[in-house]
């Protein structure tokens, strides 16, 4: 039972990141009809918003390290600590959550610039051309990040308060082996909040209603005198923000490097396809489902029977679902079928 609960938590944790990226991907596809292979790069850019803020907050003064006598060594003391003491140190400690404030405007601007500057010229082109241009854009973005931040992963620890683990077993009456890191639980909660916020926005605001109507029938909405294109551009920006925030909060789990987006891109597309192209609910459901399946496939008991299954389970499930339900779990008729 303990192992079962742990794998569920693990799966939800993984599924949270898959669902957030797939949600943005589906938003863009559902509104603009663009297959955006640069979406993983948006996740990576979000992560590097956190890295950038951390670098800004830790701009340091070099102080000679008197304890080293062999050669001249220097310690780096951040100016924030010199000027504000413990308050400065606490600000640095909370660099990752604070990065959300930076990532929202930056990712919105990146999304808008990307859509207006490049993607809109490919609305009426074939999906193959869209894939090629967005994939090329992803490579350009990651090379820019590599040029600025280097190729090595950058460690981004969570705030001290969230470094330990929660004794979930004791809380729900299970064994003491059911423990889970606080930051991963925070990430899961964060993913749930963002997903709920996006759904509420689309469901309960006038803007959301127009967007949903546009997703159903773009021409008719346009004939009603609504500038649907402008709204779709904003949706692109929102999708970029969702992916970017997912990237920011993921940094304490795996130190980000320039390749982070590519690592998630293929998985996210599988999630979108399994969920059903253009279905927001499908993307979220498939994200969590595949995360949990991948987690269970990593159990030693499963791997003893099927060695290596943890590496291929997601693709195996995708094949089966597409054979049984060619439009994915919640796919709509007519999407990518013309």
């Amino acid at each position: 039972m303990d192992a079962f609960v742990l794998q569920i938590l693990n799966g939800l944790d993984k599924g949270g990141s898959y669902a957030l990226i797939a949600l943005g991907l589906t938003l863009i596809f559902g509104t603009l009809g663009v297959v955006n292979f640069a979406h993983g790069a948006l996740f990576m850019l979000g992560a590097f918003c956190a890295v950038t803020l951390k670098k800004i907050l830790t701009i340091s003064k070099q102080v000679k390290d008197e304890s080293i006598t062999f050669f001249d060594a220097f310690k780096e003391v951040p100016y924030l600590e010199i000027w504000f003491g413990e308050t400065g140190a606490a600000i640095i400690d909370y660099a990752v959550p604070l990065s959300i404030l930076l990532a929202i405007p930056v990712m919105l601007l990146v999304g808008l610039a990307m859509e207006r500057g490049l993607i809109r010229f490919f609305y009426k082109r074939t999906h193959a051309e869209q894939i090629l241009v967005t994939f090329g854009l992803a490579i350009v973005l990651q090379e820019i990040v590599k040029a600025f931040f280097g190729a090595n992963p950058v460690p981004m620890p969570p705030p001290d308060l969230l470094t330990g683990s929660a004794d979930i077993g004791a809380a729900i009456g299970l064994g003491d082996s059911v423990i889970y890191p606080w930051w991963r639980l925070t990430y899961l909660l964060f993913a749930a909040v963002i997903i709920a916020a996006v759904f509420c926005f689309l469901q309960f605001t006038t803007f959301g209603m127009v967007v949903r109507a546009g997703m159903q029938d773009r021409e008719t909405v346009g004939l009603l005198g609504i500038n649907i294109e402008r709204r779709f551009t904003i949706v692109f920006g929102i999708a970029a923000v969702v992916s970017g925030l997912a990237g920011v909060m993921y940094t304490p789990i795996v130190p980000p490097d320039y390749h982070l987006g590519m690592d998630f891109l293929v998985l996210s597309f599988v999630v979108v396809v399994v969920g059903g192209m253009g279905s927001l609910g499908g993307a979220v459901t498939a994200g969590f489902l595949l995360g949990i399946l991948q987690s269970f496939a990593s159990m030693n008991e499963v791997k003893e029977i099927l060695p290596g299954i943890d590496q291929i389970i997601i693709f195996l499930v995708a094949v089966v679902i597409l054979l049984v339900r060619p439009r994915g779990l919640m796919g709509r008729k007519g999407v990518m079928e013309s």
């Binding site: 693990n10 390290d65 060594a73 190729a151 090595n152 470094t163 683990s165 423990i179 990593s298």
Partner: protein, 454 residues
């Protein structure tokens, strides 16, 4: 009109002359003729012979990207420092402490040392392609690098094929000088067997003989051999192995591999990971509360059999109190180590890692072997290195064993320092295990070195 067929017509005289010349040639190369007859003649007959130029070019093939990139960057720094010292610049570093030494600080055999670099990307195919470029396009006479055993074995095999010596950087798999050893490959670094042999008595002393161990292992040659060596050691102590799980290199998120440890009944986690993988897996294991657990009435322990200061730096607080082994540590007090740390520190502002140390030493050892042989001709340089005993390079008396090209020297058992006195004082030396305790019969790992002439 000329009759072209007559051009190739053999006269009896020509036939006899050619046959005599061919016979003499065959006799020379079969060894029937005294060696003195051809001594020096080989100089012009090997790949990338630098005799006709004023410089010799070396190739440094290190991981500049990928999970071992930190080690790669430090290796590159060490190579650059070695080149500087070989060319007579700087304070000379270990050139001043190496014994015996034929190095003069005027390059190698009077030729200025130049170098080219490559990125192995911590991938065997990329490393081979990079090494091939160095040999074929850049004309390197020797190449060196690490930090992955998969890469070392792949490039060592290329070295043998192409007849260019490869001085291994950081590679810890038993296979490098075991079943995959090559005549053209040399390893100064210690190996997984030695780690196990050195660590065993300390584990017994500190953790007893009734433990249950769970291994997470990097899924490639180094991980496999380290797991095997450590497992053999701990089982000989009486420990039970609960499970051994392979993890992909560069996995990033190890949570799916760590959670099964929590309720496996194991009370020791052995992380056969290196570089960023080790930093991530150790950090995540600590985040999952493993170090605070009590299992089977004992404190849960984590062991990292292969440690480095760079990894300790990356893992931060998580490394404190964790046992492992290392090839060398900057805090050693012998003259060689101190000379190297001083040079490296003055150049870069921080002490060198074990990866940097082994790469620096390897470059000097190759240069010294060329001076001893009096030539760059690889078979002669190889013979100079085989069985070479030296001191003053930071590990005490050391020998390049001729049978498998493995260096034998003392091994350090270290622990993450709980109370560091300086920002670099991250590893505390628990024990300097003497060479005799980690030596083994070369035949246990099999393999063939292959020929001198290729």
């Amino acid at each position: 009109m000329t009759n072209t067929t007559n051009k190739f017509k053999l006269s009896r005289r020509k036939l006899l002359t050619s046959a005599a010349a061919a016979g003499a040639g065959a006799a020379v190369f079969s060894g029937a003729t005294p060696y003195s007859f051809v001594k020096g003649a080989y100089a012009a007959d090997f790949r990338n012979d630098p005799s006709s130029q004023s410089f010799i070019k070396l190739g440094f093939n290190v991981p500049q990207t990928g999970p071992y990139a930190d080690e790669g960057a430090d290796e590159l720094r060490a190579y650059q420092l070695a080149v500087k010292h070989l060319n007579g610049e700087g304070d000379g570093g270990m050139l001043t402490t190496m014994k015996p030494s034929s190095l003069k600080g005027n390059g190698i055999l009077g030729k200025k040392v130049e170098y080219v670099t490559g990125d192995t990307q911590t991938k065997s195919d990329a490393a081979r392609a990079s090494a091939k470029r160095m040999i074929e396009k850049e004309g390197v006479t020797m190449f060196s690098g690490g930090s992955s055993s998969g890469v070392a074995i792949a490039t060592q095999s290329l070295a043998q094929e192409m007849g260019v010596i490869f001085m291994c950087g950081l590679t810890h798999s038993n296979d490098t000088t075991g079943k995959d050893k090559r005549r053209y490959g040399f390893r100064h670094f210690f190996n997984a067997y030695m780690s196990g042999a050195a660590l065993g008595p300390v584990l017994k002393e500190e953790m007893g003989t009734a433990r249950r161990a769970y291994h997470l292992t990097a899924d490639y040659t180094w991980g496999w051999t380290q797991e095997e060596s450590i497992k053999n050691t701990t089982e000989a102590l009486g420990w039970e192995t609960v499970n051994t799980v392979k993890t992909p290199v560069g996995a990033g998120d190890f949570s799916q591999y760590i959670t099964p440890v929590l309720n496996s009944g194991a009370d020791v986690l052995i992380l056969n990971h290196y570089g960023k993988d080790m930093i991530n897996s150790l950090t995540q294991a600590v985040q999952f509360g493993l170090r605070d657990k009590q299992v089977n009435g004992k404190n849960f322990e984590i062991i990292v059999p292969l440690f480095s200061r760079l990894m300790a730096q990356g893992a931060g607080e998580n490394i404190k109190g964790i046992l492992g082994t290392t090839n060398w540590n900057w805090a050693l007090q012998d003259a060689g180590s101190q000379a190297f740390v001083k040079s490296f520190g003055q150049e870069y502002g921080f002490p060198p890692s074990q990866a940097a140390h082994t790469c620096y030493v390897q470059t000097l050892l190759y240069a010294n072997a060329c001076e001893m042989a009096g030539t760059f001709y690889p078979p002669e340089v190889i013979k100079a290195l085989e069985g070479f005993s030296f001191d003053g390079m930071g590990n005490g008396p050391t020998e390049y064993r001729a049978a498998d090209h493995q260096c034998f020297k003392d091994v350090l058992v270290v622990r993450g320092n709980a109370n560091p006195s300086t920002q670099f004082d991250l590893l505390e030396i628990v024990k300097e295990v003497p060479r005799a305790q980690v030596e083994y019969d070369p035949s246990i790992f099999g393999g063939e070195l292959g020929p001198y002439e290729v």
